[in-house]
Symmetry: C2
Subunit: 577 residues, 2 copies
């Protein structure tokens, strides 16, 4: 009975690290071989890491990527591998090499280049125009890349009608909440539409603002998920594909057989590239392995942990430092950092001012103790007073206001950066998406730092994540008082977020409608949102583009984050109401 043992190597690559990426690919090839796999697959652009952006405009980078691929080719004996790389000739292509026994048997060029959202692939690549079928182990295998499979009329059609029984789709699909389900539904539909087994190998790991979630999977010809890998971790998912079932299903479908004939008559038979013949191998069948997806709150949390870990480590830092205010944002950020890096690599600083409440300091101390991190206490009162003296002359006759509030936030930023410069610790910032959207934050103050862990997490979700983390710990790692207190920046007496912003449970849905969904003012009012709040939010979001432009990078977890997802001019006079 024909079958194919497939190993999907869901690896964590690093952009530009051609040597390490190739080494890792070679290690996984060895492991797949030792497990008697016929075929091992790697993510899109596994050689270069994804996305390499304008590195692709450097001819030397393209050459070096080919050399790294060559090393992989030479190490690939006795097994077939599909490896993402950059192909080049008269132009460059986002490509998959089909490697067998020390030779490149063929190459697929991505047909559909995404150029929306966070993607700019038209900036770099020429699109491929065909989609050959490879005979691997005597079985027809169609290889395609990422976006290729999002089109119902894409390469999968000609490949399936050309008698491919297995589709290998290699990917670098960035995470956002809910995408896993959407992806799985699409893959199931493609598989059953085309009576084909679909294997989907995704990248895992953080790269700047993106997190790739892994969760590689295999869907059978009926659209059933028969294998699923871990989320947010490297994984090697090995499965025996029941190719005979594909053959049987197709035999039983006369309409499909008729349509195939018509398609082939119209388009011609697709190119077929021979890789290796069918060899009967005795091996013990593998049990199916299907990791269950995480529930929504755990999923977001793990995305933040992995994104933080990878940004810190891949930029070469060991330790991080952050300011604890006693509020929920910095508390959650600290816990995520500890989960990502270990308590020994996280330093917290409380920087009380004359406006800090006793509770804030106590809560910071409790949090630091709970997660086992060192807490420095650096009061800012005297430094603040020094500024007021220095500015006494120009500020004469003015009242306490935003300037004085921001001075304090910027002193804290300066202190954290001082520690960073002195000891080589990366500063984590603690602003959430509700603040980022409305500009309720101080540029060079609480926005000062190298990485903004929860930048794309709305405040209402911050609370959910805090509660999730406490549930997981089975005790209040984040003190209840932190969760229950009224949000305040504590930059003037009796300040409350609610004095400046709408209540978060009203604010967040409007931000979602405006920023993520690009809804118009009229639509939002029709959706039942309060008109005054909608106007306020639109105005705040639009006015603060300049501030976001200077914000540190942070992890995208929603369908549209502030970053390359959403490119708005700073000079922008458009008024939509």
């Amino acid at each position: 009975m024909r079958s194919l043992r497939l190993a999907m190597a869901q690896i964590n690559t690093t952009v530009g690290d051609l040597t390490d990426n190739a080494d890792k690919i070679l290690r996984y090839i060895d492991e797949a071989r030792s497990l008697d796999a016929d075929l091992v697959t790697f993510p899109e652009m596994a050689i270069t890491g994804y996305p390499p952006e304008d590195l692709l405009l450097k001819p030397q980078f393209i050459q070096d990527n080919r050399k790294a691929l060559q090393r992989v080719v030479e190490g690939c004996s006795g097994i077939t591998a599909v490896v993402g790389f950059i192909d080049s000739g008269q132009d460059i292509y986002n490509a998959a090499a089909i490697i067998h026994d020390g030779e490149v048997a063929g190459v697929h060029h991505k047909n559909y280049l995404p150029n929306y959202g966070v993607f700019d692939e038209n900036r770099y690549f020429q699109a491929g125009t065909d989609a050959p079928i490879f005979t691997i182990n005597g079985i027809g295998v169609g290889v395609n890349i990422c976006e290729d499979i999002w089109y119902a009329t894409g390469p999968i059609i000609s490949q399936a009608y050309g008698d491919a029984e297995v589709i290998i789709n290699i990917n670098a699909s960035p995470y956002h909440t809910g995408k896993g389900k959407f992806r799985e539904r699409m893959l199931a539909t493609r598989a059953s539409d085309n009576a084909v087994i679909v294997s989907y190998t995704n990248l895992v790991g953080g790269q700047d603002e993106l997190v790739f979630d892994g969760q590689s999977m295999i869907v059978d010809e009926r659209g059933e998920v028969v294998a699923r890998g871990k989320q947010f971790q490297e994984d090697l998912i090995v499965a025996d594909l029941d190719v005979e079932a594909v053959f049987r299903t197709r035999l039983h479908d006369p309409r499909r057989r008729k349509e195939k004939l018509a398609f082939q008559q119209a388009q011609g038979a697709p190119k077929r590239i021979f890789v290796s013949p069918w060899v009967e191998r005795r091996r013990k069948p593998l049990p199916p392995r299907c990791v269950e997806p995480l529930p929504p709150d755990a999923e977001v949390y793990e995305a933040l942990v992995l994104g933080t870990h990878d940004y810190v480590r891949k930029t070469g830092f060991q330790k991080v430092v952050l300011g604890l205010s006693g509020g929920i944002d910095s508390s959650l950020t600290a816990v995520i950092a500890v989960d990502a890096l270990g308590p020994e690599n996280v330093l917290c600083v409380t920087m009380p001012s004359k406006f800090s409440s006793r509770g804030s300091i106590e809560d910071s101390e409790a949090l630091a103790k709970n997660v086992g991190v060192k807490l420095l206490n650096i009061p800012i009162r005297d430094t603040y007073d020094a500024y007021l003296v220095a500015l006494a002359e120009p500020f004469r006759g003015t009242e306490f206001g935003i300037a004085e509030e921001n001075l304090q936030a910027r002193i804290r930023g300066n202190l954290l950066m001082g520690l960073s410069n002195k000891f080589g610790w990366l500063v984590l910032t603690t602003g959430n998406k509700s603040e980022t959207a409305t500009g309720y934050s101080t540029l060079y103050g609480d926005m000062a730092g190298g990485f903004a862990v929860i930048k794309d997490v709305p405040k209402t979700l911050i609370y959910e994540l805090a509660r999730y983390r406490n549930r997981k710990a089975e005790w209040d790692i984040i003190p209840q008082s932190v969760i229950e207190k009224e949000p305040s920046a504590e930059l003037k007496p009796d300040q409350r977020d609610i004095d400046t912003l709408p209540p978060y449970e009203k604010l967040d849905p409007v931000i979602h409608a405006y920023v993520v969904e690009d809804r118009s003012f009229e639509e939002m009012v029709a959706m039942g949102f309060d008109e005054a709040i909608v106007k306020k939010v639109i105005t705040m979001v639009d006015r603060n583009e300049y501030k976001r432009r200077q914000a540190p990078p942070g992890i995208k977890i929603t369908p549209r984050a502030f970053g390359r997802d959403r490119r708005l001019p700073i000079v922008n006079h458009y008024k939509s109401f």
Copy 2:
């Protein structure tokens, strides 16, 4: 004798300001009409401003742009106008409306969408596929948009072979040094290749990091420039086009007549849209008007002045504030700001530390006096000491270093931002391209501010611009001592730039080769650059991507600025040597 009086309205639009842009277009239509013009042309996307970026993803914005166009259409009686806007149907298009006498006679959709450098037009638009010819005043006129004319085999071919005698190309072409000449040469070649008069209407004004330089022009069928507008200013360039000369030239070219026939037989005759018949009008012929291009140093200087003016005014600010160090960068920035906004709108601050030399303060005072601006003196010594006390415990046992240097720069940043927040002044930063490239600057310190005037100007060019400005003034507005002193950050005793960086005359060419030209290490060494310097520069440029990502926007004046021109990942392990 057939002729066409053409008015090119080189206007300064504002992104998103649909009402003001339409009002301005209507005013120029009136003016062109009063000058007896047959045809008036406006820049690419004149209705919306350019580039509107992701505003284009808002359906309401597209609708509102159509409404604004409709107002222009209604006000366009007795004259023909070509106006850039966003057309929409099943998709959206970068389009030119050909409007005559209160009606839209036809529309051209841009055929070639740039998706490189600063451009992302594939993100938004569907490309047009045809290029109709419009009969305006009885004369064949081909309309196309920007990138369309950069392709020798683009729409101009079918339009010229389809008997268009005039090509109207509307543009939003961002400035960089040397581009004007390159553009003019290309236009001259297109015109003589196709024996056609080419009119090129460019946008003028600043938009975020881009400056559009105007310099609209008309090139006759022999490739001679017959009209040229101002650079960096609004202008209405009116000229009588000698269409009979085109006819004569074509009659005298039997090869062209043969090729035209072959082309039309192969491609079919292009679509022709009638707009208005030939009407003999008596009017006094206009003298040719050809503004001479500025010399290179003046050109860059004016780009900086306009870019600064427009960013400040279009973001709604009246006044700016900047720190004067006594060095050449801040001195030049101050002079540019004064030229852009007037001395009454510029405030300078000297913020001496214990490491500031007496000369630095005196030079700052001299500069402020020379340009007639107010100078605040806010010493930072006591504030700095307050920080050292606050940090005494964590810093115990460490030596004075980068941390202490940056503290000072960040105190200055905090003071300037305090003044900004208190009085609503925009902070200008004063870092040059050599610093931006190498990261020789303090994040949240001297990099703190809303706009980075000279961010894309290499240090060696800074000197040239300073000398240019003094020559123009016919006295040393920028004191000679400022120009002659050795560059220093003055953040520690006896500090000199040369202790950290290669000398600027060696550094700048390497930055140009690496950043602007994307040369590889080996190429740069082969070009004769010192190997150690090349290695140092590559390392510094690569390592400081994170810093640039949080830098304020600044004016692009080179072919590749740090900004959306050059998109490199922060996490980037690529080693090219």
